[in-house]
């Protein structure tokens, strides 16, 4: 079979064959970082989980349901997030606001039940984008491991912010 030679094998120079220079320059880098960490305490890693780093502002964590400046629930159970969700993991039941609770909601319709199944959620953030009320944001913590399936179901109790939040359209 005819062969075509496309490349010559690299020929080491005589001084390259010692390897000494390369090894020394590599060790110098290691030494630099060792001194940086040991003396100046500038290490790049953290002692997880005792120590935790902040996330980027675009990080998508668990859902939080927001309240407005007056402390009322922003969600009006419009079902937009439920409709857009590609994983079909949001379950909402709407109801008429009872008169004695009228001060807690801006409109007359509210979400009696609002569940997000975090075993199904793919954290795409479409629900956040679809919400016309700025009521749902994926700005909660990272989904933690649990030892049973029920804990992965976030309900209003666990998702709803306790106090009023910033104006619509911003993230914490």
């Amino acid at each position: 079979m005819a062969t075509v030679k496309v490349h010559d094998k690299y020929k080491w120079k005589w001084y390259q064959k010692f390897y000494f220079i390369s090894i020394t320059s590599g060790m110098l880098v290691t030494l630099k970082y060792f001194l940086k960490c040991a003396i100046l305490r500038q290490q790049a890693t953290v002692q997880y989980p005792e120590e935790q780093r902040g996330y980027s502002s675009r990080f998508r964590g668990r859902h939080r349901l927001k309240r407005d400046e007056k402390g009322r629930e922003r969600c009006t159970a419009c079902f937009c997030c439920m409709w857009v969700c590609p994983a079909k993991c949001i379950h909402i039941e709407a109801a008429l606001v009872p008169p004695e609770k009228a001060n807690l909601y801006p409109e007359d319709k509210y979400a009696k039940v609002f569940n997000v199944d975090h075993l199904r959620c793919i954290f795409c953030g479409l629900c956040e984008e679809a919400c016309p009320k700025g009521a749902i944001y994926l700005d909660g913590d990272i989904p933690k491991p649990f030892d049973n399936r029920d804990d992965f179901l976030s309900t209003k109790d666990t998702m709803l912010d306790k106090e009023g939040g910033p104006i619509i359209g911003t993230r914490l």
């Binding site: 009006t76 419009c78 079902f79 008429l96 409109e107 319709k109």
Partner: protein, 501 residues
């Protein structure tokens, strides 16, 4: 037909029609709020403004007569500006709460706000707020959303001949209110769904549908209503394989603009508490077991009574009548009594209650009468027949929404057939073809599950003897038969065992 010029194009249109409708026929859509083809022109909303050559000011299109040689503009820059301005006016006090509003998705204000309105408003003042009120036993009014088109007022007056809603107060304070003061002023007529429907915005809403769904979730099927012998053409709104409500048909000009509440809101009953298995004395059994059991009884018996059929389609009735003929041929004395309700024994039992609803609340009594034959018997003869019969087939008589509403089963016990069976120990010999797993199905000796009205295609005969097609809007579970097919299956069992020739 006359010739007119619209935006420089010549059209030939029907001069007897309103300009809006005439233009719609040739494919030109002029936005309107207050105009409705079945109501008198009011000229209130001014969204339909058009420019007429030779007339200095813009004119309301809905109030302009069509004339030969007329030259009009419907999409000039001036018109577009005017429409934008009108939309801005309409939205001054509007709360813009589409996420909450049940009308969103079928709301004219929403549609026109997108198509002809502006993206923002210049109005900075506080919006007017008036609390929501209950105006009917199934009707709410949200004054903030009302655009005062008076369609509801005109509908009540002109179509229903009733003074129930009226415009009160003046200027910025104008609201729609009940005419009669006090507690019993609440509207209770059969057209509260139509009122909510005719309202172009979400001001009038039905309480029983409130927050149940969103409009864009519905799959739509063009079919007919089961509610009475009028058999109105309707659009079935289906979600999760359940009919949520009926709406007026797609082709309104041909098939009618309105439907009544009885039909509109009773379809959900077809999917609640359903019977999906065969039963013997209230216990779940296989179909073949019920046929075998019935076969034993059938062999010994001489008298067969068939009750009902007014709820079934022409095709099913045909199949049942073939079964009846076979029974007779094999020396069974077979009686088919289609009258099952008190009212059917009264003189003229199929009369108009209002402009749509008839007193006959079954979809197919015309055909049942024709096939089963009206032997002029009275109630007592049915009672006697129940007593004497060896086997009684009851065809879908004791099921919802025909005999009772699923939320309150007590009405079932007042049903005439139910009472006769109860009084004459009839349950032990009854084969009940039913859609619902209710007391009657449990009491009957044998219960056969059948497809409901919305689960099958079929032809029905309305009060004027016109045949109308009903379309399957909900998928029945695999293998569920309709009443005709069940009779066929039973006949096959009989012929296999050579009990019938």
């Amino acid at each position: 037909m006359v010739n007119i010029t619209v935006d420089g194009q010549e059209y030939s249109v029907d001069e007897k029609k309103n300009l809006i409708d005439a233009l719609k026929d040739v494919g030109i859509h002029v936005p309107t709020f207050c105009y409705h083809p079945k109501l008198k022109v009011a000229g209130l909303c001014r969204l339909c403004l058009i420019e007429i050559e030779g007339v200095p000011k813009l004119q309301a299109g809905c109030a302009t007569p069509v004339k030969e040689g007329m030259k009009i503009l419907v999409s000039s820059e001036k018109i577009i500006k005017a429409r934008e301005a009108m939309m801005e006016f309409q939205l001054i006090n509007h709360p813009l709460d589409c996420p909450v509003c049940d009308k969103a998705g079928e709301c004219k204000l929403q549609d026109y706000s997108f198509s002809t309105g502006q993206a923002s408003t210049r109005y900075k003042e506080a919006k007017r707020f008036i609390s929501q009120e209950v105006v009917g036993d199934n009707l709410l009014i949200n004054h903030n959303r009302c655009i005062l088109c008076l369609r509801c007022v005109r509908f009540s007056k002109e179509i229903l001949n009733e003074e129930s809603l009226e415009r009160t107060q003046r200027g910025n304070n104008t609201v729609i209110a009940c005419v009669k003061p006090g507690e019993n002023a609440l509207i209770s007529h059969n057209y509260q769904g139509a009122l909510s429907d005719i309202c172009p915005v979400g001001a009038l809403l039905n309480k029983n549908m409130l927050f149940k769904s969103r409009v864009w979730w519905y799959e739509k099927t063009q079919t007919i209503c089961h509610g009475c012998s009028t058999l109105c053409k309707v659009t079935a709104n289906v979600k999760n394989n359940e009919v949520y409500r009926y709406m007026p048909p797609e082709n309104k000009e041909k098939d009618g603009y309105f439907i009544c509440d009885k039909g509109r809101f009773s379809a959900p009953d077809f999917s609640k508490n359903r019977l999906y298995h065969f039963m013997i004395n209230g216990k779940k059994k296989k179909s073949t077991e019920t046929y075998a059991e019935l076969y034993e009884r059938f062999k010994k018996s001489g008298k067969v009574l068939i009750i009902g059929g007014t709820t079934e389609s022409n095709e099913d009735l045909q199949k049942i009548s073939e079964a009846v003929k076979l029974f007779e041929k094999n020396n069974k004395n077979t009686v088919w009594e289609f009258k099952t309700e008190d009212y059917m024994y009264k003189g003229d039992w199929n009369s108009q209650i209002d402009f749509l609803l008839t007193s006959d609340v079954r979809p197919n009594s015309k055909k049942a009468k024709e096939i089963a034959g009206d032997n002029g018997a009275d109630k007592n003869s049915l009672k006697k027949a129940v007593k004497d019969a060896d086997i009684i087939f009851v065809i879908n008589e004791l099921s919802a929404p025909f005999s009772y509403k699923t939320e309150d089963e007590s009405a079932l016990a007042e049903n005439m057939v139910f009472q006769f069976l109860e009084e004459n120990k009839g349950w032990d010999k009854t084969v009940l073809l039913t859609t619902h797993n209710n007391t009657a199905a449990k009491k009957a000796n044998i219960a056969w599950p059948i497809q409901s009205f919305v689960e099958k295609d079929g032809t029905y005969t309305d009060k004027t003897n016109t045949e109308k097609k009903s379309a399957k809007s909900v998928k029945p579970p695999e293998g569920l038969k309709n009443s005709g097919e069940l009779f066929e299956a039973f006949i096959e069992t009989l012929s296999q065992k050579e009990a019938i020739a």
